[in-house]
């Protein structure tokens, strides 16, 4: 017999043994893995930041104060009055404020409008008119479309004083939306 045939086979288990050897997880590496999983879950739920943009202001239009009263602008922009106020068409018609709310598709959100006695229009000369009874459409709660947007309209009621000083009155008001 040849000595060559009698030579035992040399099998090396060094690499496989090293490959299967369990290694202790390091805390940082574990944290990285779990963050990756969390990011995947977040990505699947697609929670987008909610935004609101103002695209049009609230206008009560032009009017003669007369003995005073109120002017209400509805969410469709329609205008009505009480008391001695005389509405006139000159100088632009009334408009409801317009907003675009964006965020997660089909998400519902809560609309927060200004409370009474917190908003007023001023002519810059010491005269003012209170704006109260804010209303919105949709009212109180909105639902974003499948595209993740919705148009929000806001109206309010202006209180006009007796012989209110003529002039241009301006002001501002906040509108807040919040995911349910």
């Amino acid at each position: 017999m040849s000595r060559t045939l009698m030579r035992p086979l040399k099998l090396s288990f060094t690499r496989p043994a090293k490959f299967f050897q369990p290694r202790p997880l390091r805390p940082l590496r574990a944290l990285r893995r779990w963050l990756a999983v969390a990011a995947c879950v977040l990505g699947a739920s697609a929670v987008q930041a909610q935004t609101i943009a103002n695209t049009g202001g609230l206008s009560f239009g032009s009017f003669v104060a007369g003995s005073g009263g109120t002017i209400a602008v509805a969410t469709n922009g329609g205008r009505s009055k009480t008391g001695g106020v005389m509405l006139v068409a000159q100088g632009g018609s009334s408009t409801a404020a317009q907003f675009i709310v964006s965020g997660t598709a089909n998400a519902t959100y809560v609309i927060t409008l200004p409370s009474d006695a917190t908003v007023a229009l001023s002519d810059g000369n010491g005269h003012s008119m209170a704006v109260n009874s804010f209303v919105s459409y949709p009212s109180a709660t909105g639902t974003l479309s499948g595209a993740g947007t919705q148009i929000l309209s806001v109206g309010a009621t202006l209180t006009v004083g007796n012989a209110q000083a003529p002039g241009s009155y301006t002001g501002s008001f906040p509108v807040t939306v919040n995911y349910n």
Binding site: L25, P27, A30, L31, W34, L35, A38, V41, L42, V47, A49, Q50, T51, I52, A53, N54, G56, G57, L58, S59, F60, G61, S62, F63, V64, A65, G66, I71, M86, L87, V88, A89, Q90, G91, G92, A97, F99, V101, V119, L121, D123, M129, V131, L158, V160, P166, G167, S168, Y169, T170, G171, S172, F173, P174, V175, T176, V177, N178, Y179, N180
Partner: protein
């Protein structure tokens, strides 16, 4: 290891909580224009009267207890369109319901320049509705 699980779990929950509780606020402008009308007080007997206002607005206040004369209106050709009659003048009411109550009746009309006020023939001799015509230059 359990500490790592707990801390990452808390972090994950915090991210969800921030997303679901997120609020967005924007400020919008609001405006109104109070018009100062030109007040024209006249008696019916004195109609038509000539008034002038560069503001283009006139408020008509008719005195009470005036006999309703019958006169034709004179609506001058103008750039503000045809003369208009009650009850609506460019969206503003100008209904003079009764000469006995005209002190409280008024109206606001729109135009570039108002030059004359005239009274049309009354629709009811003793009360009722009357029309005021406002002529524009």
């Amino acid at each position: 290891m359990s500490t790592v699980f707990a801390s990452t779990g808390l972090l994950f929950a915090g991210v969800l909580s921030a997303a679901s509780g997120q609020a967005a606020t924007v400020s919008a402008g609001a405006s109104a224009t109070v018009i100062d009308p030109v007040n024209v007080t006249t008696s019916v007997a004195d109609l038509p009267v000539t008034v002038s206002t560069s503001g283009g607005w006139v408020r008509v206040v008719m005195p009470p207890a005036q006999p309703p004369p019958v006169s034709s209106s004179s609506s001058g050709g103008g750039n503000a369109g045809a003369a208009v009659a009650s009850p609506a003048l460019d969206g503003a009411s100008l209904t003079l319901e009764s000469f006995k109550q005209l002190a409280a009746s008024d109206g606001t009309v729109q135009g570039d320049t108002v030059s004359a006020l005239s009274l049309l023939a009354p629709t009811a001799p003793n009360g009722g509705s009357y029309s005021v015509t406002v002529a524009f230059n």
